[in-house]
């Protein structure tokens, strides 16, 4: 018996021993992981909200002050006074979450940028984590399973329409074929 087999055998023995005397704490462990995920996504959501809010309002406002123009809070993407700020805003707008919501390629980019302020302002709705796929489908978005998120959404899409992939990017890439 070589070393590989001996190690496998040892691991198997220990695993079997554990299975025979394993504590009934599976539910507790699952709950712990769920709570951890909720806390983690809350943190990610808060960071994303702060970043998006600063990009949407702070960036153009600061840029406007620096350039000597009027200080007005404009929605992200609609002002083009500051090139550097607009670039960062454009990067934020190209997130998958927005593409998922507006899957039509004929929609001009400005339409998606118009939805950015709504996503930023609605802090309680959980849309602040749009840029992060994990943050978007997390427990922070729903306190219980009654409000399913994108995983469930993916499953539904997959079940209802075979031609649509569960990946939003693939769905997006399928659209031009209709043209």
């Amino acid at each position: 018996m070589d070393l590989s087999q001996r190690l496998h055998s040892l691991a198997s023995d220990v695993g079997n021993d554990y299975a025979m005397s394993a504590p009934e704490d599976a539910a507790a462990l699952i709950g712990k992981a769920r709570r951890g995920r909720m806390v983690w996504t809350s943190g990610v959501g808060a960071v994303a909200a702060a970043g998006a809010a600063s990009l949407a309002f702070g960036g153009p406002a600061v840029a406007s002050v620096l350039s000597g123009g009027d200080t007005q809070l404009a929605p992200a993407g609609t002002t083009s006074e500051s090139t550097s700020t607009d670039e960062s805003v454009t990067t934020t707008e190209s997130d998958d979450a927005f593409e998922t919501e507006s899957s039509d390629d004929s929609t001009p980019p400005t339409t998606t940028s118009a939805s950015a302020p709504g996503g930023v302002i609605d802090l309680t709705g959980g849309k602040t984590g749009e840029g992060d796929d994990d943050a978007y489908d997390d427990d922070a978005y729903d306190d219980d399973d009654a409000y399913d998120d994108d995983d469930a959404y993916d499953d539904e899409v997959e079940d209802s329409d075979e031609t649509h992939s569960d990946d939003s990017a693939e769905t997006h890439s399928d659209e031009p074929d209709d043209d």
Partner: protein, 181 residues
């Protein structure tokens, strides 16, 4: 129920014993192996990783176990260094463990350093390549080879020369048959 939640439940309810066995190879302690697996599962799923399939999740958890086992062992070594040198061992192996069939292997694994142990498990249990092991442990290929070689020497000392053959996976058994008359 979301996909990641289904995967998590499957891993916790069905794959946990196997993961404990795997972690035991890394740690040599059943209690620490259980704790390591629990910690790895929570970390993996709490951070939204490896949620698409059980296989993917298990692979990710194994990587987490390997890295965390090394970290804990190194931390333990630092703590041990600061203890009085006259400290007595916290456990004495019982008679039953000495006569069990796996005692010699467990004793041999105890001789290895944490990284030597990890690369040995990744090599001989997970059957990973040198490059894969290096990527998981964030080491260079040469370092992994050195750890493997050192581990092989130590294991041979403990288990005998035939126990470890580094080239056993690269060789093809040749069966000599009678030549034609």
């Amino acid at each position: 129920m979301r996909t990641w939640a289904k995967v998590m439940e499957t891993v916790v309810r069905e794959r946990r014993p196997a993961l404990v066995g795997y972690a035991y190879l890394m740690t040599g302690s059943r209690v620490e192996a259980e704790d390591l697996v629990q910690d790895a599962i929570v970390r993996t799923f709490a951070r939204g990783r490896a949620k698409n399939s059980v296989v993917q999740a298990e692979a990710y958890i194994k990587r987490a176990i390997a890295n965390e086992a090394i970290n804990r062992a190194r931390h333990r070594m630092v703590v041990e260094q600061r203890k009085p040198l006259v400290a007595t061992p916290y456990s004495v192996p019982g008679h039953e463990s000495m006569v069990s069939a796996r005692a010699d292997l467990e004793a041999a694994l105890e001789v290895l350093s944490p990284r030597e142990r990890a690369v040995t498990v990744l090599k001989y249990v997970d059957d990973l390549t040198i490059a894969s092991i290096a990527a998981i442990l964030k080491l260079s290929d040469g370092t992994v080879k050195r750890y493997l070689a050192n581990a092989a020497v130590k294991l041979r000392e403990q288990l005998g020369d035939d126990a470890v053959n580094l080239t056993e996976r690269n060789t093809v058994p040749v069966i000599l048959t009678e030549s034609r008359p």
